[in-house]
Symmetry: C2
Subunit: 456 residues, 2 copies
Amino acid sequence: MPKIEPALAYARKNREQAVEDLRQLIRIPSISMTPENQPDVLRGAEWVAQRLRTLGVEDIQIMPTAGHPVVYGHWRGAGQAPTILVYGHYDVQPVDPLDLWKSDPFEAEQRGENLYGRGASDMKGQLIALLQAFEAVGKAGKAAVNLKFLIEGEEETGSPSLEAFLKANAALFACDACLNIDGSILAPDEPMIVYGVRGLAYFEVHVQAADHDLHSGMFGGAVDNPAIVLSRAIAGMRDPNGHVSLPGFYDDVQTLSAEERQELSRLPQGDDWWLGQTGAPSLFGEQGFSVNERVLARPTLDVNGFLSGFTGVGSKTVLPARAMAKISMRLVPDQVPSKVHQSLQTYLKKVMPPSVTWEVKQLAHSLPGVAARDSAVIHAASDALEAVWGKRPILGRTGGTIPIVAMIQDVLHSDSVLVGFGLPDDNLHSPNEKIHLPTFHRGVEAFIHFLSEYRG
Amino acid sequence: MPKIEPALAYARKNREQAVEDLRQLIRIPSISMTPENQPDVLRGAEWVAQRLRTLGVEDIQIMPTAGHPVVYGHWRGAGQAPTILVYGHYDVQPVDPLDLWKSDPFEAEQRGENLYGRGASDMKGQLIALLQAFEAVGKAGKAAVNLKFLIEGEEETGSPSLEAFLKANAALFACDACLNIDGSILAPDEPMIVYGVRGLAYFEVHVQAADHDLHSGMFGGAVDNPAIVLSRAIAGMRDPNGHVSLPGFYDDVQTLSAEERQELSRLPQGDDWWLGQTGAPSLFGEQGFSVNERVLARPTLDVNGFLSGFTGVGSKTVLPARAMAKISMRLVPDQVPSKVHQSLQTYLKKVMPPSVTWEVKQLAHSLPGVAARDSAVIHAASDALEAVWGKRPILGRTGGTIPIVAMIQDVLHSDSVLVGFGLPDDNLHSPNEKIHLPTFHRGVEAFIHFLSEYRG
């Protein structure tokens, strides 16, 4: 492939600059969840818009949404060639518990082959890799596809404003396919492309007994305990093996085909890998499914947070008035969040005793999305990764939720492929998030192949 | 009773001074639970010692313990008369959640007939009432009993150092009976004396699955969720009616005698009263027992706090590594905390799955204590309250835990009577704690009767 060599050479010469760009972007604490970081989120958008400007992208706009803005841009240099929509996000997760970080989460520190910082892998690193690749391709010639950019600022809160925004701007974002760069691979030598993501239904359940905190000695035995009531409700939401017990929860779950189970069995992560990644004393989950099937292609229910009463140091003898749990379900086709919501309501109506009042709030929801595996964009991405890694990537799914995948199918009628170069031990959403720099640089080269050699 | 009138007249003339004393003591934030308030706790002890000095008490010492100090003093003015040990505490509970207080918890604010502030009722108000009564009795003559003072600084953390301290100083605190002023009455017109208290066994249960917080999408389905495991364990600790399900929990519980049930049925608080005090949608508790029996004379189990994962605003999709619950049991004779600890361990060993590690920590423990109802000190207290209220006080129990009651029986072989003038709606341990000033002033007069008319 003689035509691509100059672009690869440019990228190799400018690796330090790419890492420096990533450091700059990590320094902006663009946490979308916390109101006090709102100005930082906007700075994140502005940084991305400015970088697109340096690459010759046109029509750049920081477009308002009901929440954080979307960065839009259009590069038309490939004329009649297909248009690929690049989807990414510039927001990041909160950093608590901060005391578990070994270095400042917003001062990217390199230790060995890794660069540590919030968003290094999820997904500022992926965004920088794509932009660096586009710069390299542009310096050496030009891309084989037109590009549109949709870089949002709310992914880490479940993209609450994006669906309405996308529907209102469907014509602007019209495209032939979507390259979603919020992805990852299995190991530095195990390339993967993802064609399916799990959906999400995220709730808060609030329970109240007394109307104020009471002395557990003076009132214990007279009124119910909301933490115990909520614990009992949660205990009944899944069985001890992790099979969800909410009524009708599995009604719409597609049975895994023999072909898909075969493909998932090719994944290199065995039980030891999962144990090593998590440090858990043993693996856990639904009987009759492999761990890869359970994480990638089966629905799950987890408590994400639980708070009640006094949780500081000491033995405060309070009978709490309130208890709150954050409870979320990962969904697979053809589950829909609204039916899961209904199922949760039905269950709670049945189990909640008259000694408490309770309420369910839906915080985020996202459809599961699974793309056609023989689409042009998936073939192009597979070829690009094979060119760099020297072997055919695994066609996989992710257990995570990327609401835009379902939205792109639903609103723009386009397939998505997820291509990104994070690793499973990158500590996404956790302290000491990092990116593996050698893999990051390979990612830049894979994106160069994709942009240069796309055949629509 | 001509002899007592000058003391009562003195107290009535100096009511403002008594309230001002209480304001001064409330201003000292002597929270025993939080390390940062340690200097304030010592200031609380010093304030009490200084006040005793003004009353002619001798041998005053601020005695070190393994934790916060005890204030000791001895008044021998009654010669061959019996010696009464006055027990109280100068420490208070934390004030969180601070935003629910309508005025500064450490700047006592009077609104209507109530004075609001942390410790106003539990129990700085009771301590001031006793000291004011002793002053009045001294100005008009002298007390009929000798007094020793044991005013501790760790009651609100379960008095962890007191038992060892008392054993080491048993001779110093030798007495004929104990007047424990950490008490309350049922309503402004319902005098009560308490002869029994519940015990306490307070634990923290910690559960861990993964060794760090994980992304619930990338790992949900692979490892267990400690919040769900802990919820399931808690759900099995008591049945939906509040009957504790731990193995052997009721083995040592004394059956309530017909006489005691009869006495408890005389208590004026009916279901409406309990509903009004708590604001709960309905009452709750063991079947076969009245609410008064459940709170005063039956053991209970409550979750005092529960914390896991992300509990801030938003939908962070974390699969938490850890969950923690504070769980405590109120005990009645002849339950002992060590057996309850063993029972909890046995239960958790049985129910905890291999997918987690777990640990139980004992934070506080106290024996239940029930005194002989026909002892001299109980008769004296009953007479004193009858003299002020014009009716015989109810002989009751409290659902709360006052470790010193059991310790006094065990170490000093003396009976205790609990006499105090807090009210059930004083918001003990809660925001907007207050004391009802007319009841406080009646309390001063009842203590004047007790001190002047004791017959040993």
